[in-house]
Symmetry: C2
Subunit: 343 residues, 2 copies
């Protein structure tokens, strides 16, 4: 693998000292960008994911405009259940829609651990193309959903405030639930390993719905599977584990071989450092809605956030994905504040 010119992000993942922390934004290739909306008008969701030229172009769009310190491949966490033989649709206005949700052992048995090249080769092609376009200027991140978060959609069949059907499945049919979680884990490990082989420089596991579980249930139904992924990937590439609402597990997560942990905005930087023993690199945690504050306020808040986390072992990011209606100037102020950072 070639040397990356701007290696701030990779240095932060290794815990090396930097002049300023690196910055990227979850969902930085997204609907707040007019150039993304132009592509979105012409091509539907799965066409964008499955056409390497489109996925690569979308991935580099925010880099061209703002010059973040890392790119993240445009894709979706639900390509995994799709590859496992579960039908996944995107309904405009509603989001993910799985017409035949997993509700029994029989449903679990009907899913497969797929051949990655056969089912997700288009992702690998998109990575190779993106790497060419990035020209080793900055690192490229690949990602996957956590097994628990994928299970949430597979069982619930759609987005939810509580994912109560997914939890009900785990609590009333734990054997089938664990079989399914293991199948998702095996698929995800093979998928992420292929992504690294294809050129991504780091991977992030998104546990968007881990925060719906009690600390004990989180260990049983989410963390043990994320940790399997970390253990399987640790010699291939740095792994970032992001659990939205999972502050309660940070102590356990910090003991793992993850290179960094993502945190959301409901925890202070001080508390996040304390719960993780001040050792591991942290990533986050600006409230995405706070990007609606005036740009000058955004800059002040970003400066305060970096001061609180400390410039080292820290990756500046939002606490969740950027929202569709964020003004371009405000997103720019967020990135600029990091680049202008001085202690």
């Amino acid at each position: 693998m070639n040397k990356i010119k701007n290696d701030l992000f990779l240095k932060a993942l290794k815990g090396e000292s930097v002049d300023r922390p690196p910055v990227w934004m979850m969902r930085q290739a997204g609907r707040y960008l007019p150039e993304f909306m132009a592509i979105r008008e012409k091509y539907d969701f799965f066409t964008r994911c499955q056409t390497p030229e489109l996925a690569a172009e979308i991935t580099v769009q925010p880099i061209r405009r703002y010059g973040m310190d890392a790119a993240i491949l445009f894709s979706d966490i639900l390509v995994i259940p799709q590859a496992m033989n579960i039908e996944v649709e995107m309904k405009p206005g509603l989001g993910p829609w799985l017409p035949n949700p997993i509700r029994s052992k029989k449903d679990v048995d009907a899913t497969i651990v797929p051949d990655i090249h056969e089912t997700l080769g288009y992702v690998m092609d998109a990575i190779k193309l993106t790497k060419e376009m990035l020209n080793d200027e900055i690192p490229l991140i690949g990602f996957a959903g956590s097994p628990w978060t994928i299970l949430c959609y597979c069982v619930q069949g759609q987005g939810s405030k509580t994912f109560d059907k997914a939890k009900e499945f785990c609590f009333t049919n734990p054997v089938a639930a664990h079989t399914m979680l293991q199948k998702i884990t095996d698929t995800t490990i093979a998928y992420l390993k292929e992504k690294v082989k294809s050129g991504v420089n780091a991977v992030q596991v998104f546990d968007s719905w881990g925060g719906m579980l009690s600390p004990k249930d989180y260990q049983e139904f989410s963390w043990q599977y994320i940790n399997q992924i970390i253990e399987a990937l640790k010699d291939d590439a740095p792994v970032i584990a992001f659990g939205k609402g999972c502050w309660f597990a940070l102590g356990e997560m910090a003991k793992s071989n993850a290179s960094a942990l993502g945190v959301d905005w409901t925890i202070t930087p001080q508390m996040a450092r304390k719960l993780t023993g001040h050792k591991i690199t942290l990533q986050g945690n600006f409230d995405p809605v706070r990007l609606l504050s005036p740009p000058s306020e955004i800059k002040t808040m970003v400066k305060q956030m970096i001061d609180a986390f400390g410039k080292d072992k820290y990756i500046v990011n939002l606490g969740h994905g950027i929202l569709p209606h964020i003004p371009l100037e405000n997103a720019g102020a967020f990135i600029e504040a990091v680049k202008e950072y001085k202690q």
Copy 2:
């Protein structure tokens, strides 16, 4: 006020030692009960709230069936915006719907701090009737939404996963937001004081959406108003403050004059005790979806939960409202486990 025969709940609120902790369930008067469904088929939502005979009957239904240690008056947090001159509808399948949400200073100025007797007299009548029916066997709890949670609905206009419009209003129009929060606070204080005069033995403030805010924004837009309510009510009745997802504020909340703090299931009892300095009475925190586990498992988990919180300075409850599809036997197992509790 007459002496209450079963005073476990009141003792726990005072921090006095008890043989076993008291138990009640948030939303215990709700859709999982067939006797509630029978009333629901005949009368719409606001008729149930506004007819004292119906509200009182619904309030005592779960007590008759299970014998909880406290009743909570059947009502809704949205009677407050309604009384403040904001139109509130309940749409079947969607939930609360406010056709003219608050989006500007002008909208805020159009709201009123109402005369409680004129607008919410029906609640006081329901309390008096319920007290007669309860016959001083157990205490009666009155409740209100936190000003922030009420504002969430007033601005968003409906339920939401993120309440991003409510947050946007606070972040881009803080002066109008604070004016509105203060008007809600003033109304809520007058409302809860009247409730106590009418006979409730304790009040609970529900901050259902405080967990959407960063720790700093929580102090500014939620906690300071809850604390005003606590200060205004502390000499009238014990106040329980429940903030879903507000673990990060527990240290600050424990310093207040609240008699107890509610916690949700995403925090361990040990951590909740630690963050609150082992002093204040805590209430919670069984995962509502865990009531779908087999009854024998529920009983084991309840026993473990009481052991972990400790029997004193503790009120057994769920971490949020009971779900509509919980089997009657399972809800019963939860209550029984507490009554059978021995260290």
